[in-house]
């Protein structure tokens, strides 16, 4: 109850600041839930290893910086490729075998993988975080009058918006996207048209994983690079996907940004509940619209 005592409605400019911060966090949620939605929408796999793959992206950036001297900007390309290839190997050798089984098997398999990956990194690096600095050109920030906006956060919001829109565009508006969507509806028919469906599925999984890794690289300078960084985030991101509608690309993007803002406002008005609010919304959405806000009922 004490929490309510120190609520004072902040003046409008302060509220703008909080809204902007919510939007930035929403950008991360959108990036991560987008990868999940692509994988679920096209492969029917509930990818519980997504948080671990996000962590791998951040660690990959950290490792190539410290051992090879490759900095932030190339990492944005290198880390998603490396982690994406790793993802494709997982798909090729493990995940492939559970497509025809109940969703639960895919969930358990990827969950187990996440535990193993996190365990290995914790063994080598411990649970304390590793440092990763903000790249030189993006340090500092702008005084917007109502708040101080760090340049790096501005970059995050621009970058993730571009990636989100790009992904949506490719899947919903291009021929390649049409093949992908068709292959999930009826793989046998698409194969009959001469398209290598298994390879396409592998590439799709790799792409979803690469998105997670990219989010990890973007996150590395803001949060600490630690083996557990993904496991804390993944549950929230799952809630975002459920709210947006499982498998809906648009739902994942809109849901990510919207929930970032709602969470940001909760941090102002009732901070104690800020780690819970997304799950409350999830429960309400499931009661009212079980398929999620943008989901199609099967």
């Amino acid at each position: 109850m004490l929490g309510w005592m120190h609520i004072a409605v902040p003046p409008a400019p302060a509220l703008f600041g909080q809204l902007l911060i919510g939007l930035i966090n929403g950008a991360f949620y959108a990036m991560l839930s987008l990868g999940l939605a692509v994988i679920f929408g096209l492969l029917n796999i509930i990818n519980f290893a997504h948080g671990a793959q996000y962590m791998l992206g951040a660690f990959c950036a950290y490792l190539i910086l410290n051992y090879i001297g490759i900095g932030y900007w190339p990492s944005l390309l290198v880390a998603p490729i490396v982690v994406g290839i790793f993802g494709m190997l997982l798909e090729r050798f493990f995940i492939r075998w559970v497509y025809r089984l109940d969703h639960l098997y895919g969930l358990l398999l990827t969950f187990g993988m996440a535990l193993i990956i996190q365990g290995v990194f914790r063994q080598y690096y411990g649970s304390a975080g590793q440092p990763y600095s903000i790249p030189e050109p993006l340090t500092g920030g702008q005084d917007l009058g109502f708040m101080f906006l760090p340049n790096y956060r501005a970059w995050v919001i621009v970058a993730s918006s571009v990636f989100c829109f790009g992904t949506w565009f490719v899947i919903e508006r291009t021929r390649l996207g049409a093949y992908l969507r068709a292959a999930t509806e009826n793989p046998a028919l698409v194969q009959a048209f001469g398209i290598n469906v298994p390879r396409m599925v592998t590439l799709t999984y790799g792409f979803g994983v690469a998105l997670a890794a990219l989010a990890g690289v973007l996150a590395a300078p803001i949060y600490q690079v630690s083996p557990l960084m993904g496991s804390n985030l993944i549950i929230v991101v799952f809630a975002v996907v459920v709210i947006g509608g499982m498998g809906s690309i648009l739902g994942a993007i809109v849901g990510g940004f919207a929930l970032g803002i709602i969470e940001g406002l909760t941090k102002v008005f009732y901070p104690e509940a800020s780690s819970t609010v997304i799950f409350v919304i999830m429960a309400v959405v499931l009661l009212v619209k079980p398929a999620g806000l943008f989901g199609r009922t099967a």
Partner: protein, 405 residues
């Protein structure tokens, strides 16, 4: 998270099993010291296997035998859960012949285990656990709180900052018992020294993004932002404060519980200028360096944390007292410990009070800038030595039932 704890439970079960196998024939033909801490999660870098290494070093330095019996060190993961810790403690004491449990980070677990030990007249030597209540309300005639506590951190850091002119405080507080206590302890010092608290925000534990809270702190116009949190929460709040230009904007941060591993995670660029209180820093003098060098050789080149260094000191002191008292009886050994002054590489003329509190000097450090740092882990410069009787809670304010007022 559920899934992490599942793995940890399996791990702990395996460890506990291994410990049983070792201790089954123990009975009374050896002295057994159990290191119990977080081996797998958020606080494992403060103690973890490093504390086991430190305890084994102490046993080796003592000669490996006491009262003619060999000394054995076993360990277990309490997973930061009081019920798990208490269950392991019961089994250790009742079946495995454990004489003393050391380290015990995570105050809630330390309190639970200390109660189990107290009922059986067994010894707890707490190093990484922080709550000052371990020698307050929950004190024990067989419990010793070795390295630091929340009261000392709040007093040393809080007072120094107010004296430097940081009078208006805003707290960012981890929303559980430890965070609230750290905030209360610090707020009391701030007020007593003539400062004011202009606001606070309670943040759920394990929060990743602090920007919203930092913005609130910024708008409060406080001079000092007190971080009443620990581990990853502290690291993330300091890192993001730098990003949002908090320190450049004229406000300063007070990290109330910061360890050397946290500074390492932040990097000096971000952590520079931060003031913090610790009981040990590896690079203070020839003795502390010598210990660190030996420890690094045993533990993959990692510098010891103050908690791990404290484990070494506590175990050595315990064994010396046992030798002097000529018995394994917990009450008698701890009584003997209270009589002996403590002198080792990190403690000079320390002593143990009736409430179990080790009174030792605490050190106020400031984190160096990247230019000042010349070699790996060259992180702190020492600003002040605070004598133990000024750093820790005086007995006159103690709620410990053993203290006669």
């Amino acid at each position: 998270m559920k899934r992490r704890s599942l793995l940890a439970a399996g791990f702990a079960a395996a460890l506990a099993f291994a410990a049983t196998a070792q201790g089954a024939q123990a009975a009374n033909d050896k002295v057994v010291i159990g290191v119990m801490n977080d081996m797998s999660s958020v606080y494992s870098y403060l103690g973890g296997m490093g504390s086991v290494v430190a305890a084994r070093m102490a046993v080796k330095d003592f000669g490996g035998k006491v009262l003619g019996k060999p000394i054995e060190v076993i360990y277990a993961d309490h997973q930061n859960k009081p019920d798990v810790g208490a269950a392991i403690a019961q089994k250790w004491f009742d079946q495995d012949g454990v004489d003393a449990i050391v380290d015990l980070p995570t105050s809630s677990v330390a309190i639970a285990v200390q109660q189990v030990a107290k009922q059986r007249g067994k010894v707890t030597l707490i190093s990484n656990g922080g709550s000052s209540e371990l020698t307050g309300k929950y004190c024990s005639p067989t419990g010793v709180h070795w390295t630091y506590d929340t009261y000392a951190l709040a007093h040393v850091t809080g007072k120094a900052i107010v004296q430097q002119g940081g009078k208006k405080w805003f707290f960012i507080t981890a929303d559980y018992a430890f965070g609230h206590q750290l905030q209360d302890d610090t707020a009391a010092v701030v007020k007593a020294s003539g400062g004011t608290v202009v606001g606070s925000v309670n943040v759920p534990l394990n929060n990743a993004d602090f920007s919203s809270f930092l913005l609130q702190a910024q708008q409060s116009k406080a001079q000092v932002i007190g971080l009443a949190n620990a581990g990853g929460d502290t690291v993330n709040s300091i890192k993001q404060a730098a990003e949002f230009g908090i320190v450049k904007g004229g406000q300063r941060l007070a990290g109330l519980l910061v360890f050397i591993a946290d500074v390492n995670a932040l990097g000096l660029q971000t952590a520079q200028g931060l003031m913090l209180t610790e009981a040990y820093y590896w690079d203070q003098n020839a003795q502390t360096r010598a210990f660190a060098k030996r420890f690094e050789a045993e533990f993959n080149g990692k510098v010891p944390t103050s908690g791990q260094a404290g484990v070494y000191g506590a175990v050595l002191d315990y064994l010396k007292a046992m030798q002097a008292a000529k018995t394994e009886d917990g009450v008698k050994v701890v009584t003997e410990m209270r009589k002996m002054p403590i002198n080792d590489f990190m403690t000079h003329n320390g002593h143990i009070r009736i409430d179990g509190r080790v009174i030792r000097d605490m050190y106020l450090f400031q984190v160096k800038s990247p230019q000042e740092s010349k070699y790996p882990y060259d992180y702190y410069k020492q600003l002040a030595v605070i004598p133990g009787d000024q750093a820790f809670r005086p007995l006159s304010e103690s709620e410990c039932p053993l203290v006669k007022h």
